[in-house]
């Protein structure tokens, strides 16, 4: 789970800027409650992604409150696309082992 936290955070920020609790709520909502985050772990992760230039942040007004909001940078969007490709390749490889619906080619020779 921890290894995929960066990708999850980048993905929920793709539509637009969010603050910390809204990011947590978005991850839980998208996963249908299946992913239970220790919510405290996302704050240092957000700082690290900002340090790497994948996110940028600013204090914005959210209703009557002031919250630190994060948004993707261009580098963040590229990183998200890379994470998606890597995950797709991974699940395809695992899926083809777990569910061998088509016979493997190239190994019989």
């Amino acid at each position: 789970m921890r290894g995929h936290l960066d990708g999850l955070l980048l993905a929920v920020l793709e539509p637009g800027p969010l603050h910390g609790y809204a990011i947590i709520a978005a991850v839980q909502q998208r996963s249908g409650g299946a992913l239970e985050l220790r919510t405290g772990t996302i704050y240092p992760a957000l700082q690290r992604l900002e340090r790497l230039g994948l996110l940028k942040s600013s204090w914005d007004s959210v209703g009557e409150r002031r919250r630190r909001c994060y948004e993707l940078t261009e580098a963040g969007r590229r990183s998200l696309a890379h994470e998606r490709n890597a995950w797709q390749e991974f699940t395809t490889a695992i899926g083809s082992v777990l569910n061998p619906t088509t016979p493997s080619t190239g190994l019989a020779t």
Partner: protein, 241 residues
């Protein structure tokens, strides 16, 4: 409930030290105080992090109370979901330690132009009078100061690169913050020596106001770098993950 016990332990430890902060009665206040008390790092970065933690917990409590949960129970749930301070502190500390290392690296990098300026002043001083020549040991000392500053500059540049965008592709060396802390300490000592030498030389050189000004600048640089390096050493000693 286990989180509450861990929290009381941390607060108790904090309260048993020399400083005896009042234990907040609100569970969210107590949690934030316990976590903040265990962290070291640049004050602005730490303040921002603690403010975000506080905001996140307040939002979580609000979400629970809107669903009809009483405040005390809502605070308990928010704290439980957040994770115990003992468990989270090393993760938070890692980012603060990196931030402090970067701050110390930037401060140490500033010593290079100062050291070069000192060298030029001393070199000029050795030639501005025919009757007085700079002692050979002072020249060697100056070369040594420039060498320390040059090493600090190279490590500072490498640190800023390795902990910035390059860290997307390269792992950050585990001992880098400690190396930066001790390099910063060495640079701060070099600046203190430079300040003493320049103030001493101001007695014998013709352009003494410039020597005094450069000495004051070196002393100010020493204060900034020494303070940052000290905090960096404290950060580097704390557990991170």
């Amino acid at each position: 409930m286990s989180t509450g016990v861990g929290m009381e332990t941390s607060i108790g430890a904090a309260a048993s030290g020399k400083r005896r902060p009042a234990v907040p009665s609100d569970p969210i206040d107590a949690y934030v105080a316990a976590l903040a008390d265990s962290l070291r790092g640049p004050s602005r970065t730490k303040s921002r992090l603690v403010a975000e933690i506080r905001d996140g917990l307040d939002d979580a409590v609000s979400a629970h109370t809107r669903a009809g949960v009483p405040y005390e129970r809502a605070a308990e749930l928010a704290v439980r979901d957040f994770g115990s301070p003992d468990h989270l502190a090393p993760t938070f500390q890692y980012e603060l330690t990196i931030a402090q290392a970067r701050r110390t690296a930037r401060a140490a990098a500033l010593t290079v132009p100062l050291a070069v300026a000192c060298w030029l002043l001393i070199w000029t001083a050795s030639h501005d009078t025919a009757t007085w020549q700079l002692p050979r040991t002072t020249s060697l000392l100056t070369v040594h100061l420039v060498a320390v500053a040059a090493v600090a500059s190279v490590l500072a540049a490498a640190t800023l690169a390795a902990t910035g965008r390059l860290a997307r592709w390269l792992p950050t060396p585990h001992r880098l913050p400690l190396a930066v802390a001790w390099t910063g300490t060495a640079a701060s000592i070099a600046m203190a020596i430079a300040a003493l030498v320049l103030v001493t030389l101001s007695v014998v050189v013709t352009n003494w106001p410039l020597a005094v000004a450069a000495g004051a600048l070196a002393a100010a640089s020493h204060a900034v770098v020494a303070s940052s390096a000290r905090t960096c050493r404290q950060c580097a000693r704390l557990p991170v993950n």
